[in-house]
Subunit: 339 residues, 2 copies
DNA sequence: CCGGAAGTTGCAAAGGATTACATTTGTTGC
DNA sequence: GCAACAAATGTAATCCTTTGCAACTTCCGG
């Protein structure tokens, strides 16, 4: 069931059928109609392998992500896919599972499929994988790399802006004892967030004392652990900003198990603004990071690369604070607001 | 940079290089080594389009799912991908977004890519899509279809067993006023769950009274709404089983907003056992549905189809109850257990 | 040292679409 | 009604691998 069968049925050449398939303008409307009828009647399905072999385009883009199970990524994938779909492009993704080896492997697999673009949304890279990319001229876009890599565009998040909003919000509520729950130091994205928090504190003039940073794992379990550590202190902080929502949820749980009430005893702020924030009790105040915006910038960056258009090499995304019920004036609801 | 370049560099023919690439046994070890060296030195990446065009195999399998954002699916995808990866097979998926049109479209796209197998994990099918599948001999496996389709294997979940466990658990705790929160009647999976609940009640001899079924939307918002409805009743049920976890989380939220305590005032059971169950307060008792098992059965069903092996046409998965903190003896913790 | 089997390798024909270029058909102005 | 040009269509080469078959080696027993 190939294009030849269709051509015969429609009484044209394969070239014409191909033109109809590719919506080429140089086909008479009547002819195109005949071809389309033949396609429908024969239930013809074009062979994508042949198409991309010949044309050099695969109409497929690849996403490299850390872990589909982190709700951040499905959101991103969904938006990316929907956008790509509007342009007739399919999407496939590879889970790196935070492993450099799986990253290299993923890059290889995507290149073998001849994808028309790769968005790298994970922060565990590998020299080998990057070199592989460089050897091709496949468009690539990175997310949140601490430094520009191989002259590829890099979409970054202005973490400092985000944390400054958070710290300001807490100060308004009268908090001065503000701590930070960081992610694993091996993750470059976690490290960047930690540094940004410190910078934000400095910018707000809150760095008189020793910076107050706990270390977590970006998972719920880690948050739970830190909650215990936190509340067994003689003089715990009155507010905690977490490097991501998962850990904030863990803190919430840990607090509840210890009988500590949130936000009365501790104001809590997460990062990412996953749907989880609204599912949890009390609903979590969080820094919203728009997946739609990331997806859209990534997609257009890749499209630009495809069409030899100039690539924007810097693109900054601003998080914004979404206030819910996990933050309150210091000292419980009886506390007063600070001007 | 094609196979010919490698062949020349290694001083062999393209056929030999191809054999090395495909791990064919009929190549002398020394030759294979020379070829591998050449491949590495040239940074050669085989062209998958050409490979699958010629061989008829794509080493790609497709997943059709409803919505990546429902945490049920990422789990499934992850397991499926990991399993497929061990067999050198890549995975791509299509979101149907619960739309029949997107389903048809998804099927078409997967067929165009020449996938070696399609797992249909969604329940909005379309005649058109199914017909497209039938026209090919691509292996297909379904999940939870109410009836066998086109002689394709169908993996089903024994919902009745699951709900019987749930009802038994509640009876042990002394509950007799047990209600059910159903999903949208348009979703066949929701309908099947509702029917199974009623069957389970019958099996437990709990069907003396009128069945007590609320209607939801399988989302958090729907659960929240039903909570309001529920607690404004004169004599509300003492236990509620939900068709999925998302709605149970919504009920939890709604209850909390109304100041109703769970499990004291209402025992709550969800379905699926998403990670959400542990993130939420109180942790949700839920019926665990193993994504790993589903993924594994689906994958092997497709593999079987690939190798012209006999296909198992029925495969049943048993959910099991995971008891957490959202269920308690009737009448609050002071209630007595019924023997 | 030969015949034949078994093991390696090469030759060349697919596989199904796209596309540059050639050719045919249609249109327009006069 | 015809030249000249534009539009539509066809021809055939090409994309890169895989693989059936043929050809060549190697190895062994006799």
């Amino acid at each position: 069931m190939d294009i030849l069968a269709v051509a015969r049925k429609a009484g044209v050449s394969t070239a014409t059928v191909s033109r109809v398939l590719n919506a080429s303008p140089k086909v008479r409307a009547a002819t195109a109609e005949r071809v389309r009828t033949a396609i429908a009647e024969l239930n013809y399905v074009p062979n994508n392998s042949a198409r991309s072999l010949r044309s050099g385009r695969s109409n497929l883009m690849g996403l490299l992500i850390s872990d589909v199970r982190n709700p951040f990524f499905p959101d991103l994938i969904e938006h990316f896919e929907s956008l790509a779909g509007q342009h007739g492009i399919d999407v496939t993704f590879v889970n790196t599972g935070y492993s450099e080896e799986r990253f290299s492997n993923g890059v290889r697999r995507l290149l073998e499929r001849g994808v028309d673009g790769i968005a790298i949304l994970t922060s565990e890279l590998s020299r080998e994988g990057i070199d592989r990319l460089r050897a091709t001229n496949t468009p690539v876009v990175f997310l949140n790399q601490p430094t520009v890599i191989g002259n590829y565009p890099n979409i970054t998040v202005d973490y400092v802006k985000g944390f400054r909003d958070a710290v300001d919000h807490l100060r308004m509520l009268g908090h001065s004892r503000i701590a930070f729950l960081s992610g694993p130091p091996t993750l470059s994205s976690a490290t960047r967030r930690r540094k940004a928090f410190l910078a934000a504190m400095r910018a707000c003039g809150m760095d008189k004392e020793e910076p107050w940073v706990f270390e977590g794992d970006h998972k719920i379990a880690g948050g739970r652990l830190v909650a215990q550590q936190l509340f067994s202190m003689a003089k715990p902080p009155t507010a905690l900003i977490c490097s991501n929502d998962m850990m904030a949820v863990g803190v919430l749980q840990g607090a509840s198990q210890l009988g500590v009430r949130i936000p009365d005893a501790l104001s809590l702020i997460g990062f990412d603004d996953l749907f989880l924030c609204e599912a949890v009790q009390p609903a979590l105040t969080s820094l919203h990071l728009s997946r739609q915006e990331i997806a859209s910038r990534a997609f257009y960056a890749l499209q630009a690369g495809r069409e030899d258009m100039p690539q924007a090499h810097a693109s900054v995304i601003l998080p914004h604070l979404v206030v819910r019920s996990s933050t309150a004036p210091v000292g419980g609801s009886k506390g007063k607001l600070k001007r």
